[in-house]
Symmetry: C2
Subunit: 516 residues, 2 copies
């Protein structure tokens, strides 16, 4: 892959040199981001601990043996000078300087993994192993390594588990504000080629209204479970020339062969893609293959356990303007009560097989036809789960017949319930997101957060809701690293300013001494 | 009760003389409306058939023996001349004429009852009995009575069940547009004294945040089930002077003793009120005891199985601007799956006893504290049902342990689930309603529809949502006949223009002949 195939260096590059940045496939669930021109030696681990999931982001250098954490910690004590809450002007001038001083194409990659928040011990074990293996590779004692590594923590758990993280890891833990990190992470990822994607109108229609336009296998396979990840493997061998390019799922043509105006890609039999990819087999997902600088203003709808809606005016200028408690936690929680499913992916698989019209009351169920006067089609959902409750069925006037009631309830299939609830939650978020976008006159609506999981029905429902309510004037945009915005933002918070600070020098010296 | 105690005649009175109108208690679930000055002989029955409930509204005259349906049908063939879709100016001039020509204080009452839509046969039986008993009382054959009675039908079921209603009843069925009827019904009821009510800020706080301010028995008892109503009893004896005034729940002072600025009423031990009443025992519900003409513009949020949001600019000028499928049907449907409850009231009773914090993930559960930076208190619900799903609990890496999973699910109490879902649905509707009110700059937000059922937690949650999102600038308004707006509107659609039409004369003559 040559530079000429890649987008030219963007005018703004945040704090990291992202020229030639690329999403790479690997064995891990979430694709890594390869940064061929980013040459800092970074020794911090970012974690974003939400209500349900704890996300981990860290950088490993290609130049380092085994790609382990580098020991040279820059600007450990001085993250303030390049805070994104500084004015946009200052931010940009800083970035340009950065961009012009980092020319050494050493590179490395951003790694992503996640755990259940309720399983904090696994997270801590993962970090401990990462540190001890890095110490070994750097030939320094673990305690020296620990003094040169820090945790950049965000999300609510950064506060709730602050003491526990600090005490159990024995590492400095720095807390960063959640919304600030989300916004910073979004600004970063939108500049990565093929990170941002959206559904074509035909795909929205095909997935949202399968009964109206039968398409086989339009569902994107959902991602495999994450908390069962093996212990960390720092999987960048020294001689791996361009990690990920050997993957059959991603070729060197991919960046140039997709464009925002490309026609639907040819159909293949391969339905084994772990996430939306720029080479999708059966449906026209469109990727932003040559993004320019992040575009503001925009709306970020971050769907985790709950939902935060953030208006972003410019780099570092944002406001959380709304939110809803009906989010991922609601879907997973209710479905775990209503179905036998015990994992996200089981639930999504159920939803893919379901027919919501057996539990939802459609306009046609009430009217027997369209409600033309106000433009509601007979297939429109009038009441989610509106067909389920029938007073007077399954019980008499006397004491209720529990067994009969139980039988009646069991008549509703887990598949149909799952699809109905997925629709209900996604539609509702889309509607509230649209109203906020409309209020603030924002056309770009990014959906982030761990709820989406690259799942076709979720994405198409959110997309459809935005298309429907905006009468086609606004578009829902999605991200391949949707769940890691906060983690990436926290990681970026500790990137140095391009010069070695006294603290950095001291740390580097300490490692040298430890190694000798 | 003298006229001096009552509000002076309003400038606008719709099509019915509502001077001295009064809500009266009776044995029936929904309080009747006494109209002392309305003297028309009406022989039509309005039904509003929604997705879940079919509502019935009809007028019975005090002057008629046993208060049966009067046989003199006015303007049977000419409902158009006073359609509310006419301009406001024409509407008002028509009303003034009406008001000045109807001075005979015969009066009568509006009756309300409802059935499950799934139990259409009970509705048909009710109407058949109403007609046959009225025929008997009027001493005419049933077939003559049937020719002089008509059904004014609205809601989706007016279309879906049109043939069935017509064929089985053998009566003319006229269909009226749903939104038009809702709006007309709202315009009418808001002029009835003590119909409109709202919660004081203290009451919202007390019911929405019981843990922060413990109050005993703040819950309004919900209404009893309705479809088990006995067959119709036209319960206005000839000598009943002022129906309902003998009730201990409603005294002749009530209209004047409550005002929009009244302090909280004294506490009594009586908690047996069937609905919010102007004499509430333990909490400060405020009633609009002296309403003027209906105030426009306003927003109507009608919560039935689904939710319709209608902007009303003036009499007959309105637009359905939004809606959501997360409505009453969603709550009842999900709770019937999740709990053993088999009736609305069982579910509301469960919700009253529940603690949502055992299933909802609060801000404090994620942060361990408030999230002060963006103004979220630790008690704020971050994720509805966010505490329920815990991946990795109740099952191992192998095949899931269904029994353990079942046990885990059963740990969540039906009471807590019910309260959480009631909060989630009500909050969400409140949020979407607020955003629409804000968009169109509307301060008066009426909540109608069968979902509310006079239930304290529902009303306080909706009220709180409007207060919260509007920062106290907007108020949620409620209605004692909340579920009957469409039915009342359909009833009003057939009220004559004050003059006997040729068709009415003919019908009257036919009855006279049949009687002799």
């Amino acid at each position: 892959m040559e530079d000429s195939q890649l987008p030219s260096p963007a005018g703004t590059q945040l704090l990291v040199d992202i020229r030639g940045a690329e999403i790479v496939s690997s064995q891990s669930e979430d694709p890594e981001v390869y940064l061929p021109h980013h040459e800092e030696m970074i020794s911090h681990i970012a974690i974003d601990i939400g209500g349900s999931l704890a996300k981990v982001v860290y950088f490993t250098q290609k130049a380092k043996p085994n790609g382990i954490l580098g020991p040279k910690s820059l600007a450990q004590q001085r993250p303030v000078s390049h805070s994104p809450s500084a004015s946009s002007r200052a931010f940009h001038s800083h970035l340009r300087r950065r961009s012009s001083t980092s020319r050494i194409p050493s590179g490395g990659r951003l790694n992503f993994t996640k755990f259940e928040t309720s399983d904090l011990s696994s997270l801590i074990t993962y970090i401990e192993t990462l540190i001890s293996s890095s110490a070994q590779a750097n030939r320094v004692p673990v305690d020296v390594m620990k003094r040169n590594v820090k945790i950049m923590a965000t999300g609510g758990g950064a506060h709730k588990f602050y003491e526990e993280l600090h005490d159990r890891l024995g590492i400095e833990v720095r807390r960063e504000e959640e919304m600030e990190c989300l916004v910073l992470g979004l600004s970063f990822v939108t500049e990565i080629p093929n990170e941002v994607f959206w559904y074509s109108d035909e795909l929205i229609q095909a997935v949202s209204h399968p009964q109206e336009r039968a398409l086989s296998a339009v569902n994107l396979p959902s991602t495999p479970g994450s908390s069962s990840s093996p212990l960390p493997i720092l999987d960048m061998p020294v001689n791996d020339p361009l990690p990920g390019l050997s993957s059959s799922q991603y070729t060197s043509e991919s960046s140039s062969s997709t464009s925002t105006l490309a026609p639907p890609l040819p159909t293949t039999a391969n339905d084994d893609l772990p996430r939306p990819s720029p080479n999708p087999p059966q449906y026209s997902i469109r990727f932003d293959s040559a993004p320019g600088p992040a575009q503001f203003p925009c709306l970020l709808v971050n769907i985790g356990s709950g939902v935060s809606i953030v208006k972003i005016d410019d780099y570092g200028k944002f406001e959380r303007i709304s939110g809803t408690s009906l989010g991922g936690g609601t879907l997973w929680g209710l479905l775990s009560l209503l179905t036998g499913a015990t994992s996200f992916d089981d639930m999504l698989a159920l939803a893919d097989k379901g027919d919501n019209s057996s539990v939802d009351m459609l306009v046609g169920d009430i009217y027997g036809q369209d409600y033309q006067k106000i433009g509601l089609k007979s297939s429109t959902i009038a009441s989610s789960f509106g067909k389920v409750f029938r007073k007077g069925e399954g019980h008499g006037d006397g004491p209720s017949d529990e067994a009969a009631e139980e039988r009646r309830r069991k008549n509703f299939k887990a598949e149909d319930i799952s699809r109905s609830l997925l629709y209900a939650i996604s539609n509702n978020i889309g509607q509230i997101a649209y109203m906020n976008a409309e209020k603030h006159n924002l056309d770009r609506i990014y959906f982030g957060g761990g709820f989406i999981r690259g799942h076709a029905a979720t994405i198409s429902t959110l997309s459809y809701a935005i298309r429907f309510w905006s009468k086609g004037t606004k578009r829902a945009l999605f991200l391949r690293h949707e769940g890691y915005l906060g983690g990436i933002g926290a990681w970026l918070k500790n990137i140095g300013a391009g010069a070695v600070t006294p603290e950095g020098e001291k740390a580097e010296e300490e490692v040298r001494r430890g190694r000798s």
